[in-house]
C-alpha cells in the first residue's frame, strides 16, 4: 500500500458507487441476460430473487419497476409453482398440455427454488394468498432423508441431489416462512401436517462438523464457508442454533453447532489479504515457489513505489521446500511501514477499527484459498448468525469489496479484483457490505439474506395464517 494512498483512504473512504450499482441491476431486470447465463438457465428462480432483492437493498425496486411489472414478476413466480406444492426453478421442463402422469416427474418442484420464490414474493410485498402452503409443507417433509438431510428434488419416489446443507438451509427456510420456527404437528384446513424431523436434521449438521471447527456438506468432507453458513442458518430457522456467547456448561446436544467457539475460531481465519488469484495458493502447487511468491507479493503491496510489479515468474521447484519465511518478513515489513499504533481498548470492541482502515482483506471459503466476493457474505454472515458480528475486520472487508471487486465501469461486483460482474457476486457483494454497515445499502437480515424490511412483511403473512411466535 502506497503511503500517500493510505492517507487518502483515511480521509475519503471508498464508497459504494450507487449510481452504477443501480444501473447494473436495472439492466438485469429490464433486458435479457446475456447468453453466457445459459449454463444457469435451470437456476432462473435464484437469479430472479437476486435481481429483485438487490433492487430492494438499493431501495429502488419501486422506482425502477412499475406496479404492473412487479405484479407480472409475482405471476411468473406463481407460474413456477407445482400443483403438488413447492416451486420449480423455471418453466424449462414444463410440457404444457402434453403433461401426463408419466412425464411430470421430469418437471419436479425444487427445494432451493421454493425458498427463493417465497423470499422473492416477500420482496415484492405479495399477499401469499396463492401459495400452496399445505401442499408445500407436505412435500417438504418428503424431501428429508432418514439421515436428517434434505435433497433437491423428488423423482420416481427418490430424493435426488447431494447431501448438501444448501438444501437443508432452503428447506428449513421455506418451512420457517410457511409455519414459523416452532416444531410439532400443525392442522391446516382440517388436515394434520406432520413436521420435518428436526432432531435428525440437527444431528446431521453436527456430524458434518470437521476436526478444525468448520462445517462441511457431509462427515469427513472439507469444511467450507458456504456450507457453514447454510448449516448455521438452517439451525437458526428451526430454532436449534446455539450461539457463541454460551459457556461450555450451557451447550446441549439437541442444538448445534456442538462447539460454537470452534466455529468462530475457524471463521476468523477466513479473513485474508490474499486477494489476487494469480498470486494465489489456489493455482500454485509448489510449496517453495509459493513461499517466495507470497513474500514478494506481500512486500509489493506494502512497500511504496512498487505498484503494478508483475508476480514472480516460475521458479524451480525443489523436492524439500525450505522453511516458510513469508510470515516473518511480511510481519516485519508491516510493523516497520504501517507502524500500527493502537491504544489498547479494554472491554468494548470498536464499531470500526480506525487503526486498520487501510488494510484490505476479503474472506475466503476454505483454508489457504484466495479471497472471493461471495465469501464476504458466507463467512461474514456466519459471524452475525452466531451472534458475534464484530469478530471480523469490517473495515478491511469493506475496503476489499469497494476498492477491489466493485466494478468501476459496469457496476455490480466480480468474483476477484478486475473480474466482470455477475449476478451472484453482485448480490452477495451488496449483502456483505450491508452487514458491515456500508452506506447506501438497506439493512440485510443475516439469517435470510434479504432486506430486514422484506423479512418484516412475514409478520403480516403469519398474522393472517395464525402462526404463533415472533420473527427471530
Amino acid at each position: 500500500m502506497d503511503h500517500t494512498k493510505a492517507v487518502d483512504d483515511a480521509t475519503t473512504p471508498p464508497q459504494l458507487d450507487k449510481k452504477r450499482q443501480v444501473k447494473y441491476w436495472t439492466r438485469c431486470v429490464k433486458t435479457l441476460l446475456p447468453f453466457h447465463y445459459i449454463g444457469l438457465d435451470s437456476n432462473r428462480m435464484y437469479m430472479g430473487y437476486f435481481i429483485l432483492a438487490a433492487l430492494d437493498l438499493l431501495d429502488v425496486l419501486e422506482t425502477v419497476c412499475s406496479e404492473t411489472e412487479r405484479r407480472d414478476f409475482a405471476d411468473w413466480i406463481y407460474s413456477c409453482q407445482s400443483v403438488d406444492g413447492g416451486f420449480k426453478m423455471w418453466r424449462g421442463t414444463d410440457f404444457g398440455d402434453q403433461t401426463n402422469d408419466l412425464n411430470r416427474k421430469w418437471d419436479p418442484a425444487n427445494v432451493p427454488a421454493t425458498y427463493f420464490a417465497l423470499v422473492a414474493l416477500l420482496v415484492l410485498g405479495d399477499d401469499f394468498k396463492r401459495v400452496k402452503r399445505r401442499e408445500t409443507l407436505h412435500w417438504l417433509r418428503k424431501m428429508q432423508r432418514p439421515d436428517g438431510s434434505f435433497g433437491e428434488t423428488l423423482v420416481n419416489g427418490q430424493i435426488e441431489g447431494g447431501r448438501d446443507p444448501r438444501y437443508g438451509y432452503c428447506a428449513t427456510g421455506a418451512r420457517y416462512i410457511l409455519r414459523g420456527a416452532r416444531s410439532g404437528p400443525l392442522t391446516l384446513d382440517g388436515e394434520d401436517i406432520r413436521d420435518i424431523d428436526v432432531d435428525a436434521f440437527v444431528e446431521c449438521v453436527r456430524l458434518a462438523e470437521a476436526f478444525d471447527g468448520g462445517i462441511a456438506d457431509q462427515p469427513y468432507n472439507e469444511p467450507h464457508a458456504g456450507y457453514t453458513y447454510c448449516s448455521l442458518g438452517a439451525l437458526n430457522f428451526v430454532g436449534r442454533l446455539q450461539k457463541a456467547d454460551l459457556r461450555p456448561s450451557q451447550l446441549s446436544s439437541r442444538y448445534g453447532p456442538s462447539n460454537p467457539q470452534e466455529v468462530v475460531r475457524w471463521l476468523v481465519q477466513r479473513q485474508t489479504e490474499h486477494i489476487d488469484p494469480d498470486a494465489s495458493i489456489d493455482s500454485d502447487t509448489i510449496g517453495s515457489n509459493r513461499t517466495s511468491k507470497v513474500t514478494d507479493r506481500e512486500l509489493e503491496n506494502i512497500l511504496p513505489n512498487n505498484h503494478g510489479a508483475p508476480p514472480n515468474s516460475e521458479q524451480t521447484p525443489s523436492q524439500t521446500a525450505p522453511p516458510d519465511h513469508s510470515f516473518t518478513s511480511a510481519a516485519a515489513a508491516k510493523s516497520q511501514i504501517r507502524k500500527p499504533s493502537y491504544t489498547p481498548q479494554p472491554s468494548t470492541l470498536p464499531d470500526h477499527d480506525s487503526a486498520t482502515t487501510a488494510i484490505c482483506a476479503g474472506m475466503n471459503g476454505r483454508v489457504n484459498k484466495t479471497a472471493d466476493t461471495c465469501y464476504a457474505w458466507w463467512s461474514g454472515a456466519s459471524f452475525h448468525v452466531l451472534g458475534q458480528p464484530k469478530l471480523y475486520n469490517h473495515a478491511a472487508v469493506q475496503n476489499y469489496l469497494l476498492e477491489k471487486t466493485q466494478n468501476p465501469v459496469l457496476g455490480g461486483f466480480g468474483k476477484f479484483p478486475g473480474d466482470a460482474p455477475d449476478l451472484y457476486h453482485s448480490y452477495l457483494g451488496l449483502t456483505a457490505l450491508s452487514l458491515v454497515g456500508c452506506e447506501g445499502v438497506k439493512e440485510v437480515d443475516a439469517g435470510m439474506c434479504v432486506s430486514r424490511n422484506a423479512k418484516g412483511r412475514l409478520k403480516g403473512v403469519w398474522e393472517r395464517w395464525g402462526v404463533e411466535g415472533s420473527l427471530n
Binding site: C28, L33, P34, F35, Y37, I38, G39, D41, S42, R44, M47, I51, T68, D72, F73, D75, R91, G92, D94, F95, N103, A120, E152, T153, V155, E160, A210, F211, D212, Q218, Y220, N221, E222, Q271, T285, I286, G287, T320, P323, F327, T328, A331, K334, S335, P340, P344, Q345, L349, P350, T356, I359, A361, R366, N368, K369, K390, L391, Y392, N393, A396
Partner: protein, 315 residues
C-alpha cells in the same frame, strides 16, 4: 453451430416443444442462442414422450454440454442408459471429457457415481481423479468423489495415506489433502475393526500423526493446515493441549524471542490460559497477535483476551 442436425430424418417424427415463458415479464430471462432454444425444444419433446432411445443419449449429451446444471436431464439420461443397457464404459469416457470441460459442476460427479457403482469396479478411476487434481488439486466435487471411492471399494489400505502424503509434499498448503488424510486415518472409527480406530483409539496412529503434523509445520510454520491438524489429533486423541507447549514455543517465543507463526502464538495463548497463573502470559501472547503479528484479526484477539477475565487495569 450445434453438433446435432435437427433437419436429419432422425428427428423428423418429433414436433419440438417451445418454452412457455409465463407472461409478459418473466424473471431473469436469458437471450438464448438459437442452438440452445432448439435443443431444449427437442429435449422437451422426447421427455414429454418419456422416450428411451439412442437419440436421447445424443440429445442429452448436447444439452448437458450447454447447461450441465439442468437437474432432470441427468436423471433422464441415466434412466435411458439403464433402459437401453448401454455400454457404461463408453459413458465414462464421455463423462471424462465433460468433467474436464465443466470442472465446477456437481451433477457430473453424481452421475459418475451412479455409473461406477453400477459397474461395480473402480479401475481407471484413481487415474482420472489424478488428472482432475493436476488441474485443480482443491476441487471439492473431486475430493468428495475420492472419499466415496474409498468407501465404496474399500481402498483404505491401498496407498491412500501415501497419496495424501505425496500431495502434501507437493503443496503443504493444500488443505483438501490434509482433510483427506484425516478421513483416511479416522474415517473408519466406529466400524469396530481392530487396528482401524484412528487417532482416538490407537496410540501408534496418534503418535504417527502428531509426528507427521510437526514435521510439516517445521517446513511451513505459518501454514494453518498443520496446526489445525495437530490440534485436531490432540483433541480427538484425548491428549492435553499443554503437551504441545514446548513445540509451540519453538515458533512463538515470548519475551522478545523469535515468532515464526501466528498460529503458534494463538496455541500458546490457549495453553497458557489453561495453566495455573498463566493468564497474564496468555494476555501478552494475545497482545503480540493484535499489535504485531496478526492485526487484521485484532477484534478477535481482543475478544479472546476479554475471555481471560483479567483485571481490566491490566488489559
Amino acid at each position: 453451430m450445434g453438433n446435432i442436425d435437427f433437419t436429419s430424418p432422425l428427428w423428423a417424427d418429433l414436433t419440438p416443444l417451445p418454452t412457455d415463458e409465463g407472461g409478459d415479464h418473466p424473471l431473469a430471462a436469458i437471450a438464448y442462442t438459437e442452438e440452445y432454444a432448439t435443443t431444449m425444444s427437442y429435449l422437451r419433446a422426447v421427455m414429454a414422450l418419456s422416450e428411451h432411445s439412442p437419440r436421447v443419449l445424443l440429445l442429452t449429451a448436447e444439452l448437458i454440454d450447454m447447461n450441465p446444471a439442468h437437474y432432470t436431464v441427468w436423471l433422464y439420461r441415466a434412466e435411458t442408459l439403464f433402459a437401453l443397457s448401454a455400454d457404461l464404459h463408453e459413458e465414462l469416457e464421455w463423462l471424462n471429457e465433460t468433467a474436464l470441460d465443466h470442472q465446477k459442476n456437481y451433477q457430473i460427479w453424481h452421475h459418475r457415481m451412479l455409473i461406477v457403482d453400477r459397474l461395480g469396479e473402480s479401475e481407471g478411476e484413481a487415474e482420472f481423479v489424478e488428472q482432475m487434481f493436476e488441474r485443480d488439486a482443491k476441487n471439492y466435487h473431486v475430493w468428495s468423489y475420492r472419499q466415496w471411492m474409498v468407501k465404496r471399494f474399500g481402498l483404505w489400505e491401498k496407498g491412500e495415506l501415501e497419496f495424501t502424503e505425496g500431495l502434501i509434499r507437493r503443496d503443504v498448503r493444500n488443505n483438501s489433502a490434509w482433510n483427506h488424510r484425516w478421513f483416511v486415518v479416522n474415517g473408519r472409527e466406529g466400524e469396530g475393526v481392530e487396528g482401524v480406530e484412528g487417532v482416538k483409539g490407537d496410540e501408534g496412529v496418534r503418535e504417527r500423526e502428531v509426528g507427521f503434523a510437526k514435521r510439516e509445520i517445521g517446513r511451513a510454520p505459518q501454514n494453518l493446515c498443520g496446526w489445525s491438524y495437530l490440534r485436531g489429533v490432540v483433541r480427538k486423541g484425548g491428549m492435553r493441549l499443554g503437551e504441545l507447549k514446548e513445540f509451540a514455543g519453538q515458533f512463538a517465543g515470548l519475551d522478545g524471542g523469535e515468532v515464526r507463526s501466528s498460529h503458534a502464538l494463538d496455541l500458546m495463548a490457549e495453553i497458557l490460559a489453561e495453566e495455573e497463573g498463566g493468564r497474564e502470559r496468555a494476555g501478552e501472547a494475545l497482545d503480540m497477535l493484535m499489535e504485531t503479528y496478526d492485526p487484521v484479526r485484532r477484534n478477535y484477539w481482543e475478544y479472546r483476551k476479554g475471555m481471560l477475565g483479567l483485571p481490566s487495569a491490566a488489559a
